[in-house]
């Protein structure tokens, strides 16, 4: 039973009379339903009252049935004792008896019985006012409640947004109310014709429902740190994949594109990096299904993304919650609205930045100088046709121009949604095609989605979420080692501009001589002669049933499966080195992945004595995963005709390989939310997870959390502060876990190396693969969070700030063990890492007029990271290197310092004269060589002269989004950036090696010579080129980027209706249009080694970023 509290501040004179109407319309709107007089037949009501108050009777009915009563003060005032005696009666009959002889009337909406006073109903109607209601963006609004102020005259707009209302007075005021929008009043008089009303959406409503783990919550009731991104924001600025939608939008969520290749993935860090060797990526939950593989999700289907950040929010996901949780909710149908949407965009991508390199003449001059300085003779001496004099050379071949191109992308989505009260649907189909800016690379995605909801009865609801996807990509060879195994990018940068593209016969010009000391292959050949396809098919489906056991108590069970199959096809022709070594090489691989999930929850939700609200959850879930994979290879083909399609045609068949793995997880979960008087909110959660991944001694882990929130703004003493509309203080503490280490890691398994015993046979051995660890268990993440949410000026300005301390203990750590054991590492729970920082986000509606509005959102996050303990060692070096550069262990992990510290020598400058050399520790150096600092002052420069020379993680990062609306025009400017992160630019080992092995950066024109005493670029020297990591290779990776500018127009008016359109939007947008950075690689947003936590902020030979200009349309029928 609920007595409606005042929800709108109104003029007290007419308040009483309109209150009822307002309340009813509010309830109607809340449910978004049509009024229905039909009752549900399940509940039979028995009443025995000789003299009962109305309220007593209502309470009695509520106790016996699923119905809830809503009524106004008028009803209470009209309350007279009544007598009623019924047995197993239907609600219709009961209500008829109750209102008999009174002035009351009633309506049933779903399970809600609304009782209201009927006395004003008989006033005469004077005139009819009609009109149209739409949103500021021109969208037709149906279901808007229109009331005549001071009366209970009420109507709603239809699904064309039109309304008609018979008014009682000559003149008066119409009040328009609609969920999520500011209520609006419009005067009318007898002469008023057709009205056209524009409603303005609330900035961010506290009534917004956000998805949390295993349930939902109103934003105002949250005790944890949960950020939300709405589908509309995603649609407004199209992104190619789900993970990109979070970039710059949410404080504390760092998104870094690992590879800009079509279909490439990102590194996501929520509140820093907690783990060293285990995964650091958040858990993705798609429509309640914990899973991954974001590439097959169509961003256009997303209704909202919620990011759970603190332990109070994530602990409900237990052993998988420590890196944060991303909840993705796809669109579902709404009753009463039939929508057909068509969304499409087409775009054109081009290389974001070309790295300036030497042209042929500059290169030849440089080579000659390097040869002479190295004690040799000039190479380009005009002696043969191969060695022309530099002055006779032009610009030569620009390999970057040859391998990069402008590439189109396109996206189409058609979706249908709607339904009536009991059945709702949302179905969609999408097609996305992105061609890559390197020739021959692409990513295509085909998706279908169907979400269905059905109320079988008043007690039982069932539903389905299902999506099918097929993706197909072809990857260019990038992100490889350099040198002889170079990819397209590194080859294009290394290959000399004096080389020609093709031989006279049309074959690729493949020079392997001293001008190509890094032995890279012809870049065009690398782009064109490799087929590297990856195909996936996926069916992700989840069905659920909600059963209301008794009032407030619901049982929900869901069953789902994520079926994911992949196929890879690889072929390299004999025309380039990679294939020539084996006469063409083919490889196919396929994997089948089955992931199933069963979740059962009991939810109890009730409010006691008006002030105590309780929501309790108990759950039991099981999830399991099976993977089977197989690969086969062949080489030595007679010709390249069949590509990867006929392995049998290869003369050298390689041994096939197959593998299989599984994991399973069993979980028990519980949560209690208790609120007192909407002022004090408490949440307790706990989850117990059992995982197959951990040792028999530690199969189960327990993850509790608690949170308290104080809605200070609901305290009486805050009421005088009118400008403050909301103020909440949140404090939480809890424990979550991490189990991302792969399967079977606690076992010492037998691996099977082979040997050619008997001369030809492949004898298979059996040897232990490692040291087992039956104690292996979760990584434990303890997090403290304190935050405030504040709203000002009717929530036009909203602020959220959080401070957190996250401590990860029992790290899943690959401990270095003495190799005398026969192994190098062993997986142990050891080590401790701390992340702390703060986050701020601001949302503001700066201007809100009838015709013009401007809203901004801004977020920024600071995180500092510190290693508290390692595996017993005070420090050690680690980090991925690049094979051909022979540079590795570039990162120092040290107790008391941050993760991601680059470790190397410090450049003191360039030796200008012999005097400086004599003073230095490099007595054999020559003027023009790099001068390193002798950090330990021992007179020798070696590995002991290293220090921390940079860090790959940012000091802070954030985003700033501005949306301007003027009449139908809409402008969105989204800026995003990162500050304080360094990049280890491995490319500098090639581009600034000055030894004549390969082409050089244009900066090398400023190299040291006697006549050009450069202080930044050393001299050319063919005998030089030592590959020693120093500050010379570290660059500032900070950037500020206009990530997206989008300009659109929303069409409205008669024209649209004539062509049966409710809404139409046309837009043009530009992505990555403009970047401010000092970084000299392709793009500062890069992570060469993917999501690994140790080797962040490194760049070598990645797929370069592009800028995209696109035009799109959103049509709503």
């Amino acid at each position: 039973m609920k007595k409606i509290a005042h929800f709108l501040l109104m003029d007290s004179a007419w308040r009483k009379k309109t209150l009822l109407i307002m309340k009813i319309s509010f309830v109607l709107l809340l449910l978004g339903l049509q009024v229905s007089a039909h009752s549900f037949s399940q509940d039979k009501i028995t009443l025995h009252f000789k003299k009962g108050s109305l309220i007593q009777v209502f309470k009695a009915i509520e106790r016996q049935s699923i119905y809830r009563f809503f009524y106004s003060d008028d009803v209470v005032m009209a309350d007279k004792p009544i007598a009623i005696m019924v047995k197993d009666a239907e609600i219709n009959d009961v209500m008829a008896k109750i209102i008999q002889g009174s002035t009351l009337n009633w309506k049933q909406v779903d399970k809600n019985i609304i009782v209201f006073s009927d006395e004003n109903d008989n006033q005469s109607k004077k005139a009819i006012i009609s009109g149209l209601v739409k949103s500021q963006s021109g969208e037709i609004l149906s279901g808007v409640t229109i009331t005549e102020k001071g009366t209970n005259n009420i109507t709603t707009s239809d699904n064309k947004g039109q309304f008609r209302l018979s008014v009682t007075g000559e003149q008066g005021v119409l009040v328009f109310t609609y969920i999520g929008y500011t209520s609006f009043e419009e005067k009318f008089s007898a002469g008023t014709g057709v009205l056209e009303i524009t409603l303005t959406a609330f900035a961010r409503s506290l009534e917004d429902v956000v998805v949390i783990g295993y349930g939902t919550s109103k934003k105002k009731d949250l005790t944890g740190s949960v950020a939300s991104i709405k589908g509309a924001d995603i649609k407004a600025t199209p992104v190619v994949a789900l993970d990109r939608a979070m970039q710059g939008r949410v404080a504390g969520v760092q998104v870094t594109t690992n590879s800009a290749r079509p279909g490439g993935e990102s590194t996501i860090r929520i509140r820093g990096t907690g783990s060293v060797n285990a995964g650091n990526e958040p858990l993705y939950v798609i429509d309640g299904y914990p899973t991954g593989n974001l590439n097959s999700i169509n961003p256009g289907d997303i209704a909202s993304i919620e990011i759970l950040k603190d332990a109070s929010a994530t602990a409900i996901y237990g052993s998988r919650g420590s890196n944060g949780v991303v909840l993705v909710t796809t669109q579902r149908g709404t009753a009463g609205q039939s929508n057909i949407n068509f969304d499409s965009y087409v775009g054109n991508q081009s290389l974001l930045r070309k790295i300036p390199l030497l042209n042929a003449r500059e290169y030849a001059e440089f080579i000659n100088e390097a040869r002479v300085n190295g004690g040799g003779v000039p190479y380009f001496d005009g002696s043969t046709a191969d060695k022309p004099l530099p002055s006779s050379l032009g610009t030569g071949t620009d390999w970057q121009d040859e391998v990069f191109r402008r590439a189109p992308m396109q996206n189409y989505q058609l979706s249908f949604s709607g339904g009536e009260q009991k059945t709702r649907y949302a179905i969609s189909g999408g097609y996305f095609d992105q061609q890559g800016i390197i020739q021959n690379s692409y990513f295509k995605r085909f998706t279908v989605r169907a979400n269905l909801d059905r109320e079988v009865s008043a007690r039982l609801k069932i539903g389905l979420s299902m999506q099918g996807a097929y993706t197909r990509s072809n990857s260019a060879r990038t992100e490889t080692e350099g040198g002889a195994s170079s990819g397209v990018t590194t080859a294009a940068i290394n290959y000399a501009p004096t080389f020609k593209m093709y031989n006279p016969g049309g074959t690729y010009y493949r020079e392997q001589g001293p001008l190509n000391g890094n032995l890279v292959d012809n870049p065009i050949g690398l782009a064109k002669e490799i087929t590297d396809q990856f195909l996936t098919t996926r069916l992700l489906s989840n069905v659920f049933a909600d059963f209301t056991i008794t009032k407030g108590l619901t049982f929900r069970t869901s069953w789902g499966a994520d079926l994911y199959n992949t196929k890879s096809n690889f072929y390299v022709t004999r025309l380039i080195g990679l294939g020539a070594g084996s006469g063409g090489r083919a490889s196919i691989g396929s994997s089948t992945n089955v992931n199933w999930l069963n979740e059962n929850t009991l939810t109890y939700s009730r409010t006691f004595s008006e002030k105590h609200s309780l929501n309790a959850l108990l759950g039991y879930t099981t999830q399991a995963y099976d993977n089977e994979s197989v690969t086969a290879n062949a080489a030595s083909f007679n010709d390249d005709f069949a590509s990867f399609n006929n392995l049998g045609a290869g003369a050298s068949l390689q041994a096939p390989a197959s593998a299989s793995s599984s994991w399973s997880l069993i979980s028990y979960l519980a949560r209690i939310n208790y609120g007192y008087d909407s002022r004090y909110l408490f949440t307790l959660t706990a989850r117990r997870d059992g995982s197959s991944r951990f040792g028999p001694n530690n199969k189960y882990g327990f993850f509790p959390s608690g949170a308290f929130a104080w809605r200070i703004s609901n305290e009486k003493f805050m009421h005088p502060v009118k400008s403050l509309s909301d103020l909440k203080l949140r404090i939480s503490y809890g424990v979550a876990g991490n189990q991302e280490i792969g399967d079977y890691r606690f076992y010492s398994t037998i691996q099977n190396p082979s040997y050619a015993l008997g001369g030809v046979s492949n004898s298979i051995g059996g040897v232990p693969s490692g040291i087992g660890n039956e104690d292996l268990k979760w990584e434990k993440n303890q997090q403290f969070d304190i935050g405030i949410d504040a709203g000002f000026f009717d929530n036009r300005l909203q602020l959220t700030a959080d401070y957190y301390i996250k401590t990860t203990t029992d790290l899943l750590f690959s401990v270095n063990v003495p190799q005398t054991t026969g192994y190098s590492t062993a997986l142990r729970n050891i080590g401790k890492v701390e992340n702390k920082g703060w986050e701020l986000s601001l949302n503001s509606e700066n201007i809100r007029n009838k015709n013009f509005s401007w809203s901004s959102s801004f977020n920024i996050a600071f995180n500092t990271n510190k290693v508290l303990t390692l595996d017993g060692r005070p420090s050690f070096t680690a980090g991925d290197g690049i094979g051909h550069l022979q540079v590795s262990n570039t990162v120092l992990l040290a107790v008391g310092q941050a993760l991601g510290n680059f470790y190397g020598r410090v450049v003191n400058g360039i030796f200008q004269n012999q005097g400086e050399i004599d003073k230095s520790a490099q007595k054999t150096a020559k003027p023009g060589d790099i001068w390193y600092k002798d950090l330990n002052n021992d007179g020798v420069i070696n590995d002991n002269d290293r220090q921390v020379i940079g860090n790959g993680y940012p000091k802070f990062f954030g985003g700033f989004n501005n949306t301007f609306n003027y009449k139908g025009f809409e402008l969105n400017v989204f800026i995003q950036g990162s500050y304080g992160n360094d990049i280890l630019n491995y490319l500098r080992f090639d581009l600034y090696n000055l030894n004549g092995n390969n082409n050089q950066s244009k900066d090398v024109l400023n190299r040291w010579t006697i006549n050009n005493p450069s202080t930044t670029i050393p001299r050319a020297n063919s005998a030089g080129g030592q590959r020693i990591l120093s500050t010379f290779h570290i660059e500032d990776g900070s950037y500020l980027r206009v990530k997206m500018i989008s300009f659109g127009y929303n069409f409205s008016g008669e024209l649209l209706r004539k062509i049966a359109l409710k809404k139409a939007r046309l837009y043009v947008s530009a992505q990555n249009l403009f970047t401010i950075t000092n970084y000299k690689g392709y793009d500062p947003e890069v992570s060469r080694f993917g999501t690994t936590s140790v080797s962040q902020g490194m760049d070598y030979g990645g797929y370069p970023s592009s800028k995209t200009i696109m035009a799109g349309v959103n049509l709503n029928f």
Binding site: I549, S652, N752, P753, L757, G766, V767, T820, A1023
Partner: protein
């Protein structure tokens, strides 16, 4: 009532799943056994020993490690100078404790092999199977273990002698043993092996397994190494005696009439082979001796040649033109298959595409880069003969008839004239030079120079291509890998590093 039934059914579903899923948390790998379930059958025993053999091939003897040390670290070859920097620093003797060639690779891969041997030696005896076979498998593993320790003691000096299987991280911080203790372990393993292993294997599938002759030969070499350059060492006599045992073993050992037959793929495990590391063509068990060492960019191997190393002039000049080993050992010219033109190679041209290259073990039938199939000759009968000659010369204070016979047998087969009338020092030099010619590229040179105390002089004498080596006396032992010093506080680094 209806409500209750529903509740009960929910409850029973909970209980059912709870029960059935508890079990499902105990998942074991489906694609591989675990140490708890393995080592039960004769097949497991065989596989355990095969596993020990396999890391001899890959990576230890595949190309990079032992061969590189013995060529680049000595005076036989020059690395591609703008290639792998660590190989260049080995050549220049300015390497550090993190160098992969001198430290990381030989250390870690030897101990991986030792651990596999330890597992086989300790686990196989409790497997129920044919007793004779069981004993033989253990003896094979002991031979391989001795081989690893022999490499380690020569490269690093006194290393920890681990002879137990590692199953936990307790007690892994082992101390270094003395050089004598390591040799005691080697001798003990090889004596066990020589007493158990057969002279020959009847089945062709067993070709490549260790024999008693292999154990004896390795023991002879261990004695020879231990004798060092100490003329008074009693190990000379032991080395001579052990070599003589091999010669008199009756295992059918002999020299091939033609030097080229030694390395022919059809003669794998042939009469001259005492022990070899097995490779096969095109499958996963090939080596890189073709593509890796062909002249840079040359189109005569799968892919094109990498030109990892070139031949030094000082080595090349050791060969007379009549020495039939010269054309087998080196590639001095090749026909470009694209245009049929002959490309002649040079010992001095700085262009690595034109460098005279090592060609002895290149398998011309390989179709896939890095998968060539000639075996690596670890111990040859000619080695036994030269060891015998050397040990006799030292133990008898000068060459005797038998010593001349052994040395001249090797010389005559190569087509060069026999020697005679040498004093002890001349004979010593003659044997060492013969070893350099006979075994270059077979992983002996650096070891021979170190044990005879000639490394520093030899390296300083070979200065082509601007080598300027900074070699010192301490370089006769390599540094223990830095990561190992870091991981195990009980280890003490070799002096000088």
């Amino acid at each position: 009532m209806k409500r209750n039934i529903f509740l009960y059914s929910i409850l029973s579903i909970f209980v059912f799943f709870n029960y059935s899923c508890k079990k499902s948390l105990n998942l074991a790998p489906k694609g591989s056994a675990t140490t708890a379930t393995y080592y039960k059958t004769e097949a497991d025993a065989k596989a355990a020993v095969t596993g020990a053999y396999s890391n001899l091939a890959n990576p230890l003897y595949r190309d990079e490690i032992i061969v590189t040390i013995n060529i680049v670290g000595a005076d036989d070859g020059i690395p591609f100078l703008t290639g792998n920097a660590e190989r260049v620093s080995l050549w220049r003797y300015n390497f550090t404790t993190t160098n992969a060639f001198t430290s990381g690779n030989p250390w870690s891969n030897s101990y991986i092999g030792i651990q596999r041997c330890n597992v086989a030696i300790l686990r196989i005896p409790s497997i129920e199977m044919d007793v004779a076979l069981r004993t033989r498998y253990v003896a094979e593993a002991k031979f391989i273990r001795a081989l690893h320790y022999f490499n380690l003691v020569r490269l690093f000096g006194g290393v920890p002698t681990v002879t137990t299987e590692t199953t936990s991280l307790d007690d892994v911080n082992v101390k270094r043993n003395t050089i004598d203790e390591v040799y005691t372990q080697i001798e003990s393993d090889l004596k066990d092996a020589e007493s158990v292993l057969p002279k020959n294997y009847s089945s062709s599938a067993d070709i490549g397994r260790a024999t008693s002759g292999a154990a004896k030969s390795l023991l002879a070499k261990a004695y020879l190494t231990r004798a060092g350059n100490n003329a008074a060492s009693p190990f000379w006599a032991q080395a001579a005696a052990k070599a003589k045992e091999v010669i008199d073993l009756g295992a059918g050992y002999d020299l091939w009439a033609n030097y080229k037959d030694v390395f022919s793929k059809v003669n794998k495990g042939g009469k001259e082979s005492v022990f070899e590391i097995a490779f096969s063509t095109d499958l996963n068990n090939g080596n890189n001796f073709a593509t890796g060492y062909a002249p840079r960019g040359s189109p005569i191997v799968p892919g094109t040649g990498s030109g990892i190393l070139r031949v030094s002039k000082s080595l090349f000049d050791q060969f007379q033109d009549i020495d039939q080993r010269k054309v087998i050992t080196f590639l001095t010219t090749y026909l470009n298959p694209a245009n049929g033109q002959a490309v002649s190679l040079s010992i001095t041209d700085t262009d690595p595409a034109k460098a005279v290259s090592f060609w002895k073990l290149a398998d011309s039938t390989a179709k896939v880069s890095g998968q060539a199939g000639k075996d690596f000759p670890y111990l040859r009968y000619s080695d036994v003969l030269l060891m015998y000659a050397e040990a006799l010369n030292e133990s008898a204070s000068g060459p005797n008839v038998e010593a001349y016979a052994a040395l001249n047998r090797v010389r005559l087969r190569a087509g060069i004239s026999p020697v005679s009338g040498l004093n002890q020092q001349q004979f010593r030099n003659s044997v060492l030079t013969e070893r350099r010619r006979e075994f270059c590229f077979e992983g002996h040179r650096w070891f021979d120079l170190v044990r005879t105390g000639r490394l520093q002089a030899a390296v300083n004498a070979e200065t082509s291509f601007g080598r300027a080596p900074t070699i010192q006396a301490f370089h006769s032992l390599f540094p223990i890998p830095q990561r190992e010093i870091d991981a195990n506080s009980s280890l003490v680094q070799n002096s000088g590093y």
